[in-house]
Point group: C2
Chain length 338, copies 2
DNA sequence: GAATCAAATGTAAGCGCTTACACTCGCGGG
DNA sequence: CCCGCGAGTGTAAGCGCTTACATTTGATTC
C-alpha cells in the first residue's frame, strides 16, 4: 500500500498548532515576537510534521536569501581552497550560506554565473580580482548587488576589495633573488590576459629586473595556465633555451611544483643546478622536496575579512572598504645563493 | 543625480511587447508555442530591458529548478575535483545546473546540507558513498528526491549508484605488492568510521593479507584523516615502530604524498628503503618523485555517468541503476621488488 | 473606571513566475 | 453555410512564504 505524502507547508503547521501562518512564520524567523507557550506548540508541530521551510517561497516573500555567491576561477587546484573555506566558515557564523561556482578562467562563463547567482537572489557576491567587462559591473550596480573583490588590493576601484599587492609582493621576492646573486632569471607566469593577479606578479619581477639595471630582453618569460603539467613543460623549455637560467621564478606554487618535478626527471638538482620560487604558499609548498621558497598569502585571513566586510556591506553597516593584507617571503630550500 | 532603477519583471516585458505575461513566459520556456512575430517582439523587449527571470519565482511556479545538488566530503584536496568537474560539464550539457557543498566528512553537516539543497528545490542529489543515517534516506524517500550515490558500487542498495569496488580494487594492489616479495606491510588508512570507501580499501588489504596466510596482528594500520600532513606524521610513526615496514600502502594519494615527503626529510630512499603506494591517481601522483604506484579511478567517466543516470532518474526515463566502473593498477616507481 | 499602551496574534496582500483553461480567429470539410 | 478544429493568445489561479496593518487582550496610569 502506498500512501502519497505531500510535503508539509506553513499552512499545515499552522493548522496543526492551531495558530495562524503569521505566527508560525514569526516563530521561525523572529521568535522573540511570540509567547513561549505558542512557540513551544508550534515547534512541536514543526517537528511532528518534519516541516522544512521552502527556500524559494521564503526568498520571494522576504526578498532576502541570506546566501552569498562566490565565483572562483578554478576548483581544480588548491589556490583558492583555503581562502574560500575561511570565507565559508565566517559566513556561516554570520548566518549566511555560500554558493560557489567556478568559471574556469573564462570571462563569459563568469558573467553567466554572476547572472545566475543574482537571479537566485544572492544578497552579495565575492569575485576574484577586478578584470572583467564594464557591462558586468554595470549590471551589478543596476541591481544593487553588494560585491567584494578579493585576491587583489584595489584602493582606487569603486568596489570593495580585500587582498594584497601582487606586484609589490613579487617585486620584493625578485629583489631578494637578485640580491642573492642571480643574474640569469627566467619566469613561468600565469596567463596575464584578463588576470590582474598574474599580471601584477609578472610586472613585479619586471620592476625589480629593470630597477636593478637589467634589460627586459634578457628576461625569458613563458605564460601558461596554472597547471602542474604546464609548469613542467615550461621548465623544460626554459632549460633548453640558449642560456640556462640560474633561477626560475614561477607565478604560483602549482607552476613551481610542476617545474620541480620535471627538474628531477631531467636530473637537475634544486637548488644547486637551478633555483625555483613560487607564490601563494599552498599546503603543498612546504611538502615539496626541497621545500619551496615562496610568497605567503594569508588566505584564511583574506577569506575571513572578505566575509565580514561583505556582510557589513549587505547590512548597510559600512560602505565600500579596501583592506590590504600583508604577505611575507618564506625562505625555504628551493632558492640558493649563486 | 541618482535614478532608482527597479528590476524588470515579466510584467514589464509583457507591457513593453504588448502581449500577456503568459506569452512572454512561453517565449522563454517553450518558444515553439509562440508565433515567430510575437517571439521576436518579446525578445526585443527582453533585451531592451535587460530582463533576467527570477529564479525563485520560477522554481515556485514550476516546481522544477533544473538544478541538482552535490555534497562532497571535502574540497580541500583534489580527490573529488576531477569527477565533479565532469559531472558538472555533463549536467550543463543536459540543461541542468550544479550546486556543490562540502560536508567536511561530518555526517550531521551533510544532513543539514541535504535539507538545504532540497529546500532550495534541487531536482536531484549526488552523494558520495552510502554510509549515512537511515533517517536521511527516509527523508529523501518521503520527498521523492532522485538520488545518486557515487564513488562506490552498491548493487544491493535501493539507491542508484555509480562507482567501483573499493575493496576488491585495493585487494588487487595488495596481492601485487605481496607477490613482489613484501612481507612487512604497513597501512596508512583514511578514517574508516562513516566512510565506506576507506573501509573497503582497508579491508581489501586485509583480505589479501589473510588470504596470503599472514596474521592481521602483523599488519600495522594507522587511521588518519586524508591530509598531506597526516600522511607525513603516520609515515614517521610507522618507521619508528618495532619492525620497519618494507612497504607502506596508503588509503589515497594524498596520504601517500605526505608519506613520501616525510620519507625524504628523514633521508629514506623510495623505493629502495621503503616502497609507497596510493589510491585514486590524482594528477599529483605522476608528478611526485618517484612517481606514485597507485590505483587509477576513472573519475571523469564516473562523473559523466553519474550525471546522465541521475538526469534519467529525474526524467523518469529510467529506474534505479547500478554502474560498476573498472579501475586499474598503475605501476610507477614508488613500489619496488623486495 | 476610562483611557492608554504594549504585547500577542490574526488577516490578507503581495513577491514574480507558470500553466490550466477559456477564448478568438481563420480554415477546411460536410 | 455551419461546424469543428488547431494555432495563437489571454485570463487568472495559484506556488509557499513574509509582513504591514488591524485586532484583541490585559496591565498600567491617572
Amino acid at each position: 500500500m502506498t500512501t502519497s505524502f505531500s510535503i508539509p507547508t506553513l499552512d499545515d503547521v499552522a493548522r496543526a498548532a492551531g495558530v495562524s501562518t503569521a505566527t508560525v512564520s514569526r516563530c521561525l524567523n523572529a521568535e522573540q515576537k511570540v509567547s513561549k507557550d505558542t512557540r513551544d506548540r508550534v515547534m512541536e508541530a514543526v517537528d511532528a510534521l518534519g516541516y522544512t521551510p521552502n527556500f524559494n517561497a521564503r526568498a520571494m516573500a522576504a526578498k532576502r536569501t541570506y546566501t552569498i555567491g562566490a565565483i572562483i576561477p578554478t576548483m581544480e587546484n588548491a589556490i583558492f581552497a583555503r581562502g574560500l573555506q575561511a570565507f565559508q566558515e565566517t559566513l556561516h557564523g554570520l548566518g549566511y550560506n555560500l554558493l560557489v561556482s567556478s568559471s574556469a578562467y573564462r570571462p563569459e562563463l563568469e558573467a553567466e554565473q554572476i547572472r545566475g547567482l543574482v537571479a537566485r537572489g544572492a544578497d552579495g557576491l565575492l569575485l576574484i580580482g577586478y578584470e572583467r567587462e564594464q557591462s558586468v559591473y554595470d549590471y551589478l550596480g543596476k541591481r544593487g548587488i553588494p560585491t567584494m573583490l578579493a585576491w587583489s588590493y584595489l584602493p582606487d576601484r569603486p568596489h570593495a576589495s580585500v587582498g594584497f599587492d601582487n606586484r609589490a609582493s613579487m617585486r620584493v621576492l625578485a629583489d631578494r633573488v637578485i640580491s642573492m646573486g642571480h643574474r640569469r632569471v627566467a619566469v613561468i607566469s600565469g596567463i596575464v590576459d584578463g588576470n590582474d593577479r598574474a599580471e601584477g606578479r609578472l610586472n613585479g619581477i619586471k620592476d625589480s629586473w629593470v630597477a636593478n639595471g637589467f634589460d627586459l630582453a634578457d628576461l625569458p618569460v613563458i605564460e601558461t595556465p596554472y597547471e602542474i603539467e604546464n609548469g613542467a613543460t615550461a621548465f623544460e623549455t626554459l632549460m633548453n633555451g640558449t642560456q640556462k637560467p640560474s633561477v626560475i621564478m614561477c607565478g604560483n606554487d602549482v607552476l613551481a611544483a610542476g617545474a620541480m618535478t620535471r627538474a628531477k626527471e631531467l636530473g637537475y638538482d634544486i637548488p644547486n643546478d637551478v633555483s625555483v620560487t613560487g607564490f601563494d604558499d599552498i599546503e603543498l609548498a612546504k611538502h615539496l622536496h626541497p621545500s619551496l621558497t615562496t610568497v605567503h598569502v594569508p588566505h584564511r585571513e583574506m577569506g575571513r575579512t572578505a566575509a565580514r566586510e561583505l556582510v557589513n556591506l549587505i547590512d548597510g553597516s559600512s560602505t565600500t572598504v579596501h583592506r590590504q593584507l600583508n604577505v611575507s617571503i618564506i625562505m625555504r630550500n628551493s632558492l640558493a645563493q649563486v
